[in-house]
């Protein structure tokens, strides 16, 4: 029991939260606590103060808009898993985050700004062409997911900004999600894959392939995407797409580079072939 005695700022409205962030840019932002509370108990995080967003209800919930779906940053994985209007693959992804207790508290925004290369949902935002909405006292910025993570745990988010929501545009194609960990539940990923492929008259018109846990940030595999677009999703195309994959994973406590290299290619092949079968 390492009770953290730092002061906690607890805004009740979005305006108050934004103002609070401007005044306390070095406060540790707290949402569902599923990462922060672990760091505090381990003694690896010693914040001077915390900014607790949990009571800011305006940051919660899913709204359907003309051009897609907007997800508030405090929306939990349970909320996503239960939302029928969400892409099925994103709901599948939500059900792999920790287990039920974590899904009931862990938030979409927390997963994004914790910025772990192994973050379960991060490849999904890349393949769904999601746009992150960040807000500060100065206004709102909208940042495509593909431009958000800049390096290991570094992201395009200023000290006075808060991630307030995620916009998921209405996109075409079949979306798939695959996570490989030590077991199905309560496991941090060794490799995580998001995939979206749209076809017209048998030819791939749009492809998004993104991996997590195989580099310092979640990232799109653009060479694989190029190997798919304009072609029929035949076994040969799948072979060429898998061969085009360029990743440089590391050995770490959860897995080895060799294993990740093998598994990334195997699950990419398996998911592409599953799409080809329809």
């Amino acid at each position: 029991m390492l009770t953290c005695t730092a002061p906690v700022h607890q805004p009740r409205s979005l305006d108050e939260a934004i103002a609070c962030r401007a005044i306390h840019p070095f406060a540790t932002v707290l949402a569902g606590g599923t990462d922060i509370m672990v760091y505090l108990e381990a003694g690896s995080l010693k914040p001077s103060s915390l900014l607790d967003l949990w009571k800011v209800d305006a940051l919660r919930g899913i709204t359907v808009q003309a051009d897609g779906v907007r997800i508030g940053a405090l929306t939990t994985w349970t909320d996503i898993a239960r939302e029928a209007r969400m892409p099925a693959a994103l709901r599948d992804c939500a059900r792999t985050v920790g287990a039920l207790q974590i899904q009931n508290r862990g938030t979409v925004g927390g997963n994004i700004v914790n910025a772990s290369p192994a973050g379960d949902s991060l490849p999904m935002w890349l393949v769904l062409d999601a746009v992150f909405e960040v807000r500060s006292w100065h206004g709102t910025r909208r940042i495509p997911a593909a431009e958000f993570w800049r390096g290991y745990k570094r992201m395009d988010l200023a000290a006075d900004e808060l991630l307030v929501g995620v916009h998921v545009p209405a996109v075409s194609g079949d979306v798939r999600y695959r996570k490989v960990g030590t077991r199905l539940a309560q496991a941090i990923s060794k490799v995580v894959l998001g995939l979206r492929v749209a076809t017209v008259d048998g030819l791939v018109t749009e492809a998004r392939v993104a991996f997590g846990s195989v580099g310092p940030t979640p990232a799109r595999a653009t060479a694989v995407e190029h190997a798919l677009v304009g072609r029929a999703l035949s076994p040969e195309t799948v072979d060429n797409a898998v061969a085009a994959l360029q990743i440089a994973p590391l050995d770490d406590i959860r897995s080895t580079a060799d294993y990740r290299n093998d598994v990334a290619r195997r699950i990419l092949r398996a998911e592409l072939l599953a799409l080809a079968r329809g």
């Binding site: 009770t3 509370m37 672990v38 607790d52 349970t78 039920l100 207790q101 508290r105 539940a185």
Partner: protein, 157 residues
């Protein structure tokens, strides 16, 4: 700071550090020792309680976040001296060995059964995946959860 919430149907007010873990406030300040500390990092589920009906790890919740919430621990499962059906099923099926995981399993199962009174084994396994039993007595736990709510006289674990 004072924090107010409902614990097992009773309003409580407790003086606590805002970032104190709900688990510690329950056990040390309120002497509600059903929730156990296993891992202290949200992996094992021994500290599971229901906050506003949802199963959560009380080791990962700063007490400041439960102001105004309704909390249920294993102590609140029985009503008027009668065990909840899932507790009776655990007894009937022999679904406890050393017992330290049992309070967590019981409240997680309660949350599941409130929403889905007749879960399949697969649904029960997924819902209970965040509760670990070091004695590995999972089969009888799943038996108990799946047979907790059945017409009287037809239970058979």
């Amino acid at each position: 700071m004072p924090v107010n919430f409902t614990l097992n149907g009773r309003g409580v007010s407790v003086e606590a550090t805002p970032m104190a873990r709900l688990l510690d406030v329950l056990r040390e300040d309120l002497r509600c020792t059903g929730p156990k500390e296993g891992c202290g990092e949200g992996e094992c589920g021994a500290c599971t309680v229901l906050v506003d009906g949802r199963a959560v790890n009380s080791c990962l919740i700063p007490v400041i976040q439960v102001e105004g919430a309704t909390i249920l621990t294993v102590e609140g499962l029985a009503t008027d001296g009668r065990l909840h059906p899932v507790q009776e099923a655990f007894v009937r099926c022999g679904a406890a060995q050393c017992g330290i995981c049992t309070p967590g399993f019981l409240v997680t199962a309660r949350a599941l059964l409130d929403e889905n009174p007749h879960p399949s084994r697969e649904e029960a396994r997924e819902a209970l995946a965040g509760n670990l039993c070091r004695c590995t007595g999972y089969q009888k736990i799943i038996d108990a959860v799946c047979e907790a709510i059945v017409p009287v006289g037809t239970a058979g674990c």
